[in-house]
């Protein structure tokens, strides 16, 4: 049966080890936003041997490009973007100590293996539930690449963000389960 867990970031090893694929999680703590363009720059810096604008050790990344912040609000709508576009960059970031990724949709096999190798986890937020997720954000601070607009890196402080553990540190993958359920379709057959 489905469990609901409280999870705090930055995350410790022991806490991570208890996460299981399929757990419902209320996540509180610090998240860094990063999507396509920010990933490209982070990886370019690593490859050039330069330091990152923030330390990745034990941190969590949220794949999001928020809508602009209206006056009087902390942040605009901020739901997850499709994670698979970040797959090519992810193994390198996991090597740097990244522990939690939040996005939507499945990951590549390479990423699943890297998650297992580095004892990390991939959580999914509900795509499109962006105004709701914005209510969980208590503080937002721009820390890098303002020229990227919605793709700039922000440091967020969140409270009780509703998520599902999709890939756990043991490499158990909720999406792989979904794929198996697709099998009957082909037999059902269109021929």
């Amino acid at each position: 049966m489905v469990r609901i867990r409280e999870l705090q970031t930055p995350v410790g090893k022991e806490q991570l080890a208890t996460l299981a694929s399929g757990d419902l999680v209320n996540l509180s703590g610090v998240l860094y936003t990063a999507r396509d363009a920010a990933h490209q720059r982070l990886v370019a810096r690593l490859e050039a041997g330069e330091p990152l604008p923030f330390a990745l050790e034990n941190q969590a990344l949220f794949y999001v490009g928020p809508s602009p912040t209206p006056p009087g609000k902390i942040i605009g709508s901020c739901g997850p973007t499709t994670s698979s576009r970040m797959d090519p960059y992810t193994p390198l970031l996991l090597e740097q100590g990244l522990k939690i990724m939040i996005g939507k949709g499945p990951r590549s096999q390479e990423v699943v293996q890297a998650i297992q190798r580095h004892q990390a986890a991939y959580l999914v937020a509900t795509g499109g539930a962006a105004a709701l997720l914005a209510q969980c954000v208590k503080k937002a601070e721009l820390i890098a690449y303002p020229d990227l607009g919605p793709e700039a890196i922000y440091r967020l402080e969140v409270e009780k963000m509703p998520l599902i553990v999709a890939i756990d540190p043991d490499g158990r993958n909720l999406f792989a389960r979904g794929a198996k359920e697709e099998a009957p379709l082909e037999q059902e057959g269109m021929e």
Partner: protein, 319 residues
């Protein structure tokens, strides 16, 4: 003027009886100009188009129309999987929060697709129509705090105002202008596909292609999706039919009984895949399948599948 032989620099040398014969023509010409260019045609200043497009952009991004909302509520009632219910509860609650907080439903407020149906008896005044539409998009995305996601495809440099819109224009009878604004997010657009099938592939081939596309999209297109399908015409016509199918009121069946039957069958097959909300398993993968068809060539069977995430935004106004 009829009394003298014309020998002016303008008219040259014209015989007197010729001038006499055609003496009513200037008056008739003036009448026609006044009647059809001025008094008879309904006039519409494009400034009103700008204001309307701006308003439609903001409304579409903040509030789903009742048709889509009803399908989502129905989906929540039908869904049985724990993850599916968890997700659909959030989707429905998000609609309330977006309306209350005046925030966009989804942070991806899309590239703006605008359909214009222009009555052929309407006279648009005050400037360039497409420029007016883009001015409306610019204003709406700025004033509504909507995300600017449009950029040059190769340099990837953002235009910073979400223009240009993708504008589809059609001439129709009448003297009105119907504007439909449909902001389209990339998550579901990226998973859309087009294929030139062989006539031998037939209806079974069409069904197979639609199902393959939905299965390949999995959780990436933000299911539950609405599946827009265009069948027939040419390559670009099929794509446009699929997009047009998505702006039909959600969940309405095709007026063609054969097509309506196909829509029903495909919806049932898609919901048997078990992909479910956000691809995490469940009964509801699609909210609706909407198909538009058009005659095609004897050697052709183009099929386009345009996937639409559950934030199915479209808003219309008639001016």
């Amino acid at each position: 003027m009829g009394n003298r032989t014309g020998s002016s620099p303008v008219l040259g040398t014209i015989k007197k009886d010729t001038l006499q014969k055609y003496r009513w023509y200037p008056a008739v010409f003036c009448f026609l100009v006044l009647d059809h260019g001025g008094m008879g045609l309904r006039k519409l200043n494009v400034d009103l188009v700008t204001a309307t497009v701006a308003q439609l952009c903001v409304e579409a991004c903040r509030e789903l129309s009742a048709d889509v909302r009803a399908l989502l509520e129905q989906a929540r009632n039908e869904e049985e999987s724990a993850f599916g219910c968890f997700i659909l509860d959030q989707v429905l609650e998000n609609l309330e929060v977006a309306a209350r907080e005046q925030l966009p439903i989804c942070q991806d407020t899309g590239i703006c697709v605008v359909f214009l149906e222009i009555g052929q008896d309407l006279h648009l005044t005050g400037g360039d129509l497409e420029a007016a539409v883009n001015a409306g998009v610019r204003r709406g995305y700025q004033e509504g705090y909507l995300r600017k996601s449009v950029l040059s495809p190769l340099t990837r440099i953002n235009t910073f105002d979400n223009t240009p819109a993708v504008i589809h224009t059609r001439m129709v009878p009448g003297d009105r202008l119907k504007i439909t604004v449909a902001p389209k997010g990339a998550g579901s657009e990226n998973m859309s596909r087009l294929k030139m099938l062989k006539p031998a592939d037939g209806i079974e081939g069409v069904k197979r292609f639609v199902l393959e596309t939905v299965a390949a999209a999995g959780g990436c297109a933000c299911p539950p999706v609405i599946v827009g399908v265009g069948i027939g015409g040419t390559m670009e016509k099929a794509a446009l039919l699929a997009k047009t199918a998505l702006i039909r009121p959600a969940g309405t069946a095709s007026s063609d009984p054969t097509v309506a039957e196909l829509e029903k069958e495909l919806l049932a097959l898609i919901n048997q895949t078990g992909i479910g909300p956000q691809g995490l398993g469940g009964k509801v993968t699609a909210l609706a399948v909407q198909i538009e068809t058009y005659p095609t060539h004897i050697a052709a069977l183009p099929v386009a599948v345009n996937l639409q995430c559950h934030v199915a935004r479209h808003r219309s106004a008639i001016l």
